[in-house]
């Protein structure tokens, strides 16, 4: 199954919002099956870069190829139905119950998900089948984002885009759901691109970490290389935060 995970090429991508250069001539190859983390401070352009891949943002210059095909050759809504998208705001439809929310993507192409498939998707995000009939407002934040992940996976995508997916969750839920997504990435053979401002999360979940600053990629390393001190100042400043915390915690251990 890993063979179906798509390879993505970004070529000289640029995007400007007014006077701000959000993405500045970025070129990048993402191998099929990789779990890539985009890390950087707020305003570094990482979310904008991510959203150009499913055309929620249209770049001013450059092009994006998925398995060698320019994404502009498909209509935006057709492209998006093939790509899983999870974001911090979750965006469950408040007037639909859980099973309708999960099944919305296939429904758009005229396909109705059977109850067994809904149950299977709920199981993937570690929720039992009784959740199917609940309404979004009856769920906790963590449960909602689990549904958000299940919705993103409902159309059997091979590419998963996540924009700060766990940013609004409590630390326990955040760690558990992050681990779960990492397992799903392997189990389903996905190419995953995740935007986060939390370097620890990137180091723990991804197999490749890109650091962005002012619209440019300033470091491109594996977690091991970053922890070994590579990647330059901006990257190392970000790595320093969890490292100092880990040291401090170790000092507290009796």
């Amino acid at each position: 199954m890993a063979g179906t995970a798509p390879r993505i090429s970004l070529e000289h991508l640029g995007k400007r919002f007014g006077n701000t250069l959000a993405v500045d001539d970025v070129s990048l190859e993402i191998a099929g099956g990789s779990f890539l983390a985009l890390v950087g401070a707020s305003g570094s352009g990482k979310s904008t870069l991510l959203k150009t891949i499913n055309r929620l943002v249209e770049p001013d210059n450059g092009s994006i190829l998925i398995d060698g095909t320019d994404i502009c050759r498909a209509l935006p809504h057709e492209l998006r139905r093939r790509i899983g998208y999870v974001f911090q705001g979750i965006g469950l439809f408040p007037h639909m119950d859980v099973k309708e929310n999960i099944g919305i993507g296939p429904r758009l192409s005229g396909q109705r998900l059977p109850a067994a498939r809904i149950a299977e998707l709920l199981e993937l995000v570690e929720l039992d089948a009784t959740f199917a009939a609940r309404m979004p407002h009856e769920l906790s934040g963590g449960q909602r984002q689990r549904i958000g992940v299940a919705r993103a996976l409902a159309g059997d995508p091979h590419l998963l885009l996540m924009d700060e997916p766990f940013g609004a969750l409590d630390p326990v839920t955040r760690a558990a759901l992050g681990k779960r997504v990492q397992d799903l990435h392997r189990q389903l053979g996905l190419t995953t691109v995740m935007v986060t401002h939390d370097m620890a999360e990137a180091l723990l979940l991804a197999d490749r970490v890109l650091v962005m600053d002012a619209g440019r990629i300033v470091a491109d390393c594996t977690p091991g290389e970053l922890l070994a001190g590579e990647g330059g100042d901006v990257a190392q400043n970000l790595v320093a935060v969890p490292r100092e915390q880990a040291k401090a915690l170790a000092g507290l251990t009796p």
Binding site: N54, L56, P76, H77, E78, L79, R80, R81, Y85, F87, G89, I90, G91, L92, F93, P94, H95, I104, G105, L108, R151
Partner: protein
């Protein structure tokens, strides 16, 4: 109070017409506002323009908006042909539809603007097309707010629809206008109560629909809509076209007692001769002449002086007979409208004062009045101070009052007896002149033109020789005393007669 109840029982057809008009206007308003709101949600320029236009419409008083559609439709006849109705249902529908737009449009646009950005991002993110996003997400989430807008529109429209009486569309405004004019408070209250009850009922039903949308309970939505549609269907059934024997003769009346009475005097003669008769009461003064010359109504009663200044735009005064002859000729030449003849009395403008006040100030003629005018307040009906007659009289005598105030015709006399005005613009055939023992000031310089009451018959209707023969005996039959008494029987506060009763008594008195 039992009087109000009796009136309420007779309001069925008016209620049905009111329901149909308001429902049509709201439906048309929804049909225009919702697509416009969707467009506005995707284009900021459209949003500004649409909301700006709808707000502008709201600033026009409903009465004026209704009246404006008469000349608009009249000019559109150049495009759509002579069959385009200029009075009644169509102009009322158009004006009320414009009125209904704003609340629906504004609520729909606001609902879309305040929709959670996350939900919209998710809709795009899962791959919805623009249409799917509208149908599956935006419409269901905006529905409760849109429904609240429709509720507001419904209440406004039902209220404003009472004003459509003035452009000849029957409704619950008919008893209100007729009652206000004749000081028949049972009629006024019954009309108000019926309109208010209808508005409350519509508000309640649409409120159920709104709650159904908000709480996602389908049976509430269908229940509320179902009952409302049932009411509309029942109204349409009640007003279904009946089998008619021959054409119905429509008699128009301006909004004062004399017109109501004369319309019924004419109507009852025609009914006795086998005609079907309908009344369009409370028409605006400007509307009624256009209506009869274009055949929107068949018969109207007008006054020589009114036509002389308003239609012929003349300011000179060649004398009573000359004015009449010129008018008859002018009507025949310009539109083919037939002037049946003069009824025999004048309803002229005059200035009147309370007897004690006039004696106290030593005023008997208009010239006396001119001397005292800088210390006095004059009251006039709503149009008086803009009429050429007023300018003519003012300039002829050099009148210069301390204050001038507008009253509706009914309240003008109360203002005079109550001392809120020293002089009023009275009508010579008004029964209250005698009843209130008012002094009509002598027009020594003949500045007021003559106002002989005459009957106008629409061009096509005038070809009916039998109809002309039925009405001919009324020519010259009504003297001013008889008319004053009939007017007073309707206008007085105690032992009031309806216009139909007064007309019957008048018919007996003139014995023709």
């Amino acid at each position: 109070m039992s009087g109000i109840f009796d009136v309420l029982l007779t309001l069925g057809p008016k209620l049905a017409a009111h329901v149909l008009l308001a429902a049509s206007a709201i439906a048309l308003g929804i049909a225009i506002a919702l697509p416009l709101a969707v467009w506005a949600g995707r284009n900021a320029g459209v949003r500004r323009f649409a909301l700006g236009f709808a707000s502008l419409v709201q600033t026009i008083p409903a009465l004026a908006l209704l009246a404006l559609f008469f000349p608009i439709l009249l000019s559109l006849r150049a495009v759509f042909g002579e069959g385009l109705p200029t009075l009644g249902f169509l102009p009322a529908l158009l004006a009320l539809t414009l009125y209904a737009l704003l609340p629906i449009l504004r609520n729909a646009v606001t609902a879309r603007e305040n929709m959670a950005a996350d939900v919209i991002e998710a809709a795009d993110g899962v791959g919805m097309t623009g249409w799917q996003r509208l149908r599956l997400v935006e419409a269901p989430l905006a529905a409760p707010y849109v429904m609240a807008g429709i509720r507001t529109a419904a209440v406004w429209t039902i209220g404003a629809a009472t004003l459509s009486t003035t452009i000849g569309q029957p409704g619950l405004g008919d008893p209100i206008f007729a009652g206000l004019q004749t000081q028949n408070w049972a009629l006024v209250l019954a009309g108000c109560i019926a309109a208010a009850a209808l508005a409350l009922l519509a508000d309640t039903l649409l409120g159920l629909v709104e709650r159904g949308f908000a709480e996602r309970r389908k049976w509430l939505v269908w229940g509320g809509l179902g009952i409302a549609l049932l009411g509309i269907a029942a109204s349409a059934w009640a007003l279904r076209p009946q089998d008619r024997q021959g054409d119905t003769i429509v008699i128009g009346a301006k909004s004062f007692s004399e017109q109501y009475i004369l319309a019924r005097l004419i109507g009852s003669r025609l009914e006795a001769a086998g005609y079907r008769v309908e009344y369009r009461d409370g028409l605006g003064s400007a509307v009624v002449h256009e209506a009869v010359t274009t055949g929107a109504i068949d018969i109207s009663i007008d006054y020589t002086g009114t036509l002389w200044t308003n239609q012929l735009k003349r300011e000179d005064n060649p004398g009573r007979e000359e004015i009449y002859r010129t008018l008859v000729e002018w009507e025949r030449e310009t539109s083919g409208t037939f002037v049946l003849g003069r009824l025999g009395f004048e309803n002229a403008y005059a200035l009147a004062m309370r007897q004690d006040r006039a004696n106290g100030l030593g005023i008997r003629t208009m010239e006396d009045l001119a001397r005292a005018s800088p210390r006095l307040t004059i009251g006039g009906d709503v149009e008086f101070f803009r009429r050429p007659e007023w300018f003519a009289v003012r300039d002829a005598y050099g009148l210069k009052f301390a204050r001038q105030r507008n009253f509706t015709t009914t309240f003008m006399y109360d203002a005079l007896t109550g001392g809120e005005a020293d002089v009023i613009s009275a009508y010579t055939s008004d029964g209250r002149i005698a009843a209130d023992r008012l002094v009509v000031l002598e027009d020594t310089r003949g500045a007021f033109p003559s106002y002989d009451a005459l009957v106008l018959i629409a061009p096509d209707t005038a070809k009916d020789a039998r109809l002309i023969a039925v009405l001919e005996p009324l020519v010259g039959a009504i003297d001013v005393k008889a008319m004053r008494d009939a007017n007073f029987a309707v206008d007085r506060l105690e032992n009031k007669q309806t216009p139909a009763q007064a007309a019957a008594e008048l018919a007996e008195r003139i014995g023709r």
